[in-house]
Structures are given as structure tokens and as C-alpha cells.
Amino acid sequence: MAAARSEHTDPKRDEAFRRELVGLIPHLRAFARTLCGDPTAADDLAQDAMLKAWDARQSFEMGTNMKAWTFMILRNQFYSEKRRSWRQSQLDQEAAERTLVAVDDPEAPVALDELRQGLGMLPIEQREALILVGAGGFAYEEAAAICDCAVGTVKSRVSRARRALQGILESGQYRRDGSAAGEAMASILAHAERLSQAK
């Protein structure tokens, strides 16, 4: 896209923008990974979003929420790519189920893999709402702006996602290695307990 960039660019502003954008890369990667599943596809998406944000920097109002702004760009990018080849998302889903298991965390507990897989089983609107609010640190209002929907819609998606995820974890629908149903939930509970005791 060779947009007409005749406007004067302010190097100082660009530098401030760049620095803030670079700081957001890890978050963009994390959000992309929850949308795509496959880490390589996710990084491609995050890079595209980063470039789009950079190209659109003139339209960003410094001092406003750049994280929400870049997440919105990433999400739009994700859906426009998905529209282009909706079949890809099916493949992504399968790839996600294969690759999400291979986390390079030596002590990644089984439950974390299962949480990832459970997340992958949710409808995409529920998954993104839950991630934005439950992990990304966004308020419902911000998540609604990112997803371009009503606040009430985000709230209901998040609560449906929570219920569904709990159901998946408790019933052991993932059945990765024949582990008993509900084992993931038990492990997640034990983990939370350990954390609260450690405080």
C-alpha cells in the first residue's frame, strides 16, 4: 500500500510512537497466538499488524490507548485474512491442536495444554472476548471497542466462554492422552491453591 504520505512527519513523534509500538509487540504476539493457535502464523499476523499500525501512525492520537488500538488492527487483520480463505481457519485449528501441546516450557503442566486446547474449542468470538478481558487486562468497554460490538455483547460472550471452558475442562472433552475426565480442572484448582498459599 503506497499511501500518499505527503504530510510532514515529525521524527520525534515517530520515535515516541515506535518505542511504544515496540513495547507492545509481546502483547500483540500473545493475542495473535490465541487467535491463530499456530505460533508461526501468529507471528506473521502480529508482524502484519505491527506494520499496519506503523503505517497508520499519523492517524493515532498519542496519549490514547495504543494497546487497544493495535489489538483492534490485529483483530481486523485476522478477520480479513480469514474471510479471504476461511478454510485456513480450519487448518489453523488443527495446527493449533498439534502445536499448542508443544510449548517449550519444561514444566508446562498438563493442565495448561488442556486449557489451550479447551480455548481452541470455543467459538472465536467467545475466545477473543475471554482473552481480552480475562488475560489481556482490558475493561469490558475497551474489549467492546476492540471487537466493535456492544459492551453487553462482550459481557455475555465472556460469561458464556467461561462456562463453556469450565465445562470442557471438567468433562475432559479434549482427551489428549487418555487422561481422566476432570483431571485438568483438578490440576488447575491445585495450582490456584498453591499460588494463594505462596502469597
Partner: protein, 56 residues
């Protein structure tokens, strides 16, 4: 048998479970956030920046 403070113990249990899932969800997300950013990202951004200065 002591009655729990809230109306229903199963409600407490459900809340506990949701909290536990929430903790894990954040952990999962933060795990990726704390990964080192691949050099590629910064290279791409640098290239875009150079292109801009080149065009100017």
C-alpha cells in the same frame, strides 16, 4: 457442619473454579508476552522506517 457465608456452597465452588481458570488463562497469555521478541519484528520495523526516510 457449618454453613458457608454465601448463599450456596456450590456457588462458592463455581466461583473458585472460575478464578482458578482465570489465573491459568493469564499465565498462558503472560507466558507468550514474556517470550523474547524475535529479531524479525524489529528488522521489519526498521526497514519500514528506513523506507520512509528514503522516500522523504
Amino acid at each position: 457442619m457449618r454453613r458457608s457465608r454465601s448463599k450456596s456452597p456450590s456457588l462458592d465452588e463455581a466461583r473458585l473454579r472460575q478464578q482458578a481458570i482465570g489465573v491459568r488463562l493469564r499465565q498462558m497469555f503472560d507466558e507468550v508476552v514474556s517470550e523474547p521478541v524475535p529479531d524479525e519484528f524489529l528488522q521489519i520495523l526498521r526497514k519500514a522506517d528506513e523506507k520512509r526516510s528514503g522516500e522523504a
